[in-house]
Structure formats: structure tokens, C-alpha cells
Amino acid sequence: MYVATKGGERAIDAAHDWLAEERRGDPSVPELSIAQIREQMRLAVNRVMAEGSLYDPDLAALAIKQARGDLIEAIFLIRAYRTTLPRFGASLPVETDAMAITRRISATFKDVPGGQVLGPTFDYTHRLLDFKLAAEGEAPEAARKPADDTPAPHVLALLDRDGLMEPLEMSDAEPGDLTREPLEMPADRPLRLQALTRGDEGFVLSMAYSTQRGYGRTHAFVGELRIGTCAVEMEIPELGFSVEIGEVELSECETVNQFTGSKTEPPQFTRGYGLVFGQNERKSISMSLVDRSLRWEELGEDDTGAPAQDAEFVLYHCDNIQATGFLEHIKLPHYVDFQSELELIRRLRKAAGADMQEAAE
């Protein structure tokens, strides 16, 4: 229980002034611009867009600056801003098959049509601190090579063609939206994917990792990881046809997992799916592993009691804004609550004291 109290205004104002000063840091050091954060802290911007659930690199960069680099606080700011925007509608589903690819790898096949494209990756770096970055240098330049137009179809589509993958049910059913209706169990796969794509990266990563360590093992292979930009198309009500309204960068991961089958169906590989705003492959791989482990029931697998199989546990705890809101509220004044606890413990001690005295006598 909370009570309204007065008297903190002056202290709060002073705290906010000090926060502003601390945010700026040493004034002899040049101030960060939004453009600098957007361009040079791109992966932080991506995370804020994905978990803030709003694709707008400038706003995410502003939120990071305002939050002094606390990404969960920045995500909170974006979520709050998002609620002030009127929604014009929903896009057509993005066609990730037609993605302009910057990175695309498969861990299941060496030779895939369209090839393995490494893109701007930390993989194969030695993870040694590069002290050259501590000094200002010339802007580096990427190598180039003439591009061919070889299409890069989804790798899983190749397995699909041979009937080795579980078939996907194609539909145009209106998906549930947990930003409009509170999330209720059981949640179908579209809702689970929405919750996971905006879920906390660390939480989703840990859940995925737990499946690899044996808590609900799903034997995942990364069939394909692709990163690049996709056009976003929306039906324009005034015109009655759809138009491209922009482009978003996406990371998509499809996993190939162990089998399902039945008396009537031969064994087939099963799928896990991850799709996230921005270049964020750790999150997209994690998401696809957790998506797969949450599918145990529809695939007729055993409930081993693993945390990553428990949709209610995963989906109700993956949102870092809900989590931090509830967690941090306990630092707010609980004077009245605590007063009753104090009274209770005094009464208990009094009773216990009387009992002990009786026992001693």
C-alpha cells in the first residue's frame, strides 16, 4: 500500500538537476550527438528498437542518450513514447525471402544457392582489445566485389521441397496483439513470437542456453541466419492497394531440430523461428531456440518440466519493462506496509517472550 506524502519536491528537483549534470559528464569532453549514437552505437540502437518494439533509429539513439546508456531505461522511454502514437494500421507480412542480404550463413549446408555471406560480423575476430580505436583514425573502408544477382532462397525451403521439414500452415489469420489485449494462456505461436521478439535479450538468451544444456533439449542446428533490409508494404486505405512505406533491417534465424512423426507421417525435421528488428543475431538465434522448445505440446513431445518448455513462465517473465517496473517499485515508499509488519513482529515477539518466560519458570 502507498500513501501520498508531500515534502520531496525540492529534493526531487535537485536530484533531477544533478542527473542532468551527470548525464553530460565532464563538460571539457565533447557532447555526444544523436547521430553519433545512431551511427556508432548501432547495435545498442538495434536492441532498444527490438525490445522497445518501435523501429526508429533516431528515437532509439535519443533514448540511449537520455538514459545515459542504460538500455533498459532507454527501452522504457521508447515503450512510453510508443503509446502516444496513433496506429495507422498493420503492414503486409515482410517478405524475408526478398531481403537485401548483408549477412547470410547456414550451419547445415556448405553450398547453398546465393552462398554464405559473412557480412559485418564479430565472428573470427580474436576478441582482443583494439587500442587503435582509442585514437582517432581515418574512416575505414569495406572491400567491394561485383555482386551477382543469384537469388538466395531460404535454406529450409530446400529441405521443405524434399518433404524433410514439417510443413508450415500458411494462413492470413489476423494475429493476436499483446500490446492491445493482455497476454493470456495458452498463447498461440504468433503471440509467443511477438512476446519473444520484444523480450529481454539476456532472458531469452539464458532460456535458449538452458535448452542447450539439457533442460528441454531440442537439438537445434542453425539452418539459416540472415540479416539485411526488407521493404515494409502497407495497404493504403485511400487508394485500395499496397505501397512501400519504408525499409527495416531484420535478423532472421531458422533452426532445424529433431524429428517428429507418427503412424501416418514419416519422420520430419521440426522448426524454430526467430525474427528481430535490426542486426541482432544473438537474439534471433535465442528466439528460435525458445520458440522451438515452447512447441513441445503441439509436436507431441514430453513435458520434462524444463523452464524453457513452460510458456507461462517464459512469456510472463521475458518482458524487461514489466519486470523492472515491478522489481524497482519496491524501493518506493512502503511506510504503511512496513508499519504493519513492525507491529506484527512486535506482537509476535511479545507473545514469544511470554511463552519463553513461562517455559523458564
Binding site: 498493420a90 537485401a100 557480412g119 555482386a147 504468433p190 523461428y273
Partner: protein, 147 residues
């Protein structure tokens, strides 16, 4: 979408190109906005971006993106619409004006669209070439059993 006529296809391509344009570039190419009546003043909002389960299954909600829209009518009566990514109101206003000019058959539009189209193609080529440079060319080492 196969039922669109030539004019609708041209309009779809034009609106898409204007939506993807860099606002500052568009301002440079099209500084003077002609006299118009606003049917819908530029308004920032959000569009829910959707994906497909497993890339080709049913749709799911991925997250929103910021979009600004605008509708206007030129003096001659032509109506233009814009839905553009981001929160830049002048971007939406210029895109709607150019859409209306396109509907009116103005000769002012083609050079602007051509410039935007060429610049976009150059940006895309640059990215594709950088990606191509990181494409792995596998070769198999000589294996022991071959000897």
C-alpha cells in the same frame, strides 16, 4: 495485386520511392511546395510491422515503426497521399505534393524520381558489393585418402 493498371503501378512505385527517400535529399530536389489545401495535415503515427511464422506461415506482430502520413489537394484539383517512414512532417508533405503532381501529369516529377531512383540504386549496389566481398569461396584441401 495483379489487377493494378498502369497508372496504379506508376503511383505505387512513385509513393514507395518517395517514402524511402532521405528527407534532406528530397528537400534539396524539391524545395518549393506548390500551393495546396491540406486534406490531412502531416501526422506522425505507427504501423505494426508483421512477419510470418517460419518465414512463410501465418502472420505475427513483430513490432511497430514510425510513419508520417499526409494528404493534400493542389490548386488544379489533383489529390496526393503520402505514408513515409519516420517522423519528418516536411518529408510527408513533400511526398504528398509530388504524388499529387504526378497524378496531375506534371513534368516536374520525373527528374526528381529519376534522381532518387538512381541514388537508391547506387546505395543498394554499394551494399550488395560489400556483401559480395564477404562471400565465402570454399575450396577443399587435399585429403589423406586421396594420395
Amino acid at each position: 495485386m495483379s489487377s493494378l493498371n498502369q497508372d496504379q503501378i506508376a503511383r505505387r512505385d512513385r509513393m514507395g520511392l518517395l517514402a524511402r527517400a532521405e528527407p534532406s535529399r528530397l528537400e534539396k530536389l524539391f524545395p518549393e511546395i506548390p500551393v495546396h489545401e491540406l486534406l490531412r495535415a502531416p501526422e506522425a503515427g505507427a504501423v505494426m510491422v508483421r512477419g510470418r511464422v517460419g518465414a512463410s506461415g501465418g502472420p505475427f506482430n513483430l513490432g511497430e515503426m514510425t510513419v508520417t502520413r499526409c494528404s493534400l489537394r493542389l490548386e488544379g484539383g489533383a489529390v496526393g497521399h503520402a505514408y513515409v517512414q519516420g517522423r519528418d512532417k516536411s518529408h510527408a508533405l513533400r511526398a504528398a505534393a509530388l504524388d499529387a503532381l504526378g497524378e496531375a501529369g506534371s513534368e516536374q516529377v520525373a527528374p526528381i524520381l529519376n534522381a532518387l531512383c538512381a541514388e537508391e540504386a547506387a546505395r543498394r549496389t554499394e551494399r550488395a558489393e560489400k556483401a559480395a566481398a564477404t562471400k565465402v569461396e570454399f575450396f577443399t584441401m587435399v585429403r589423406g585418402e586421396d594420395q
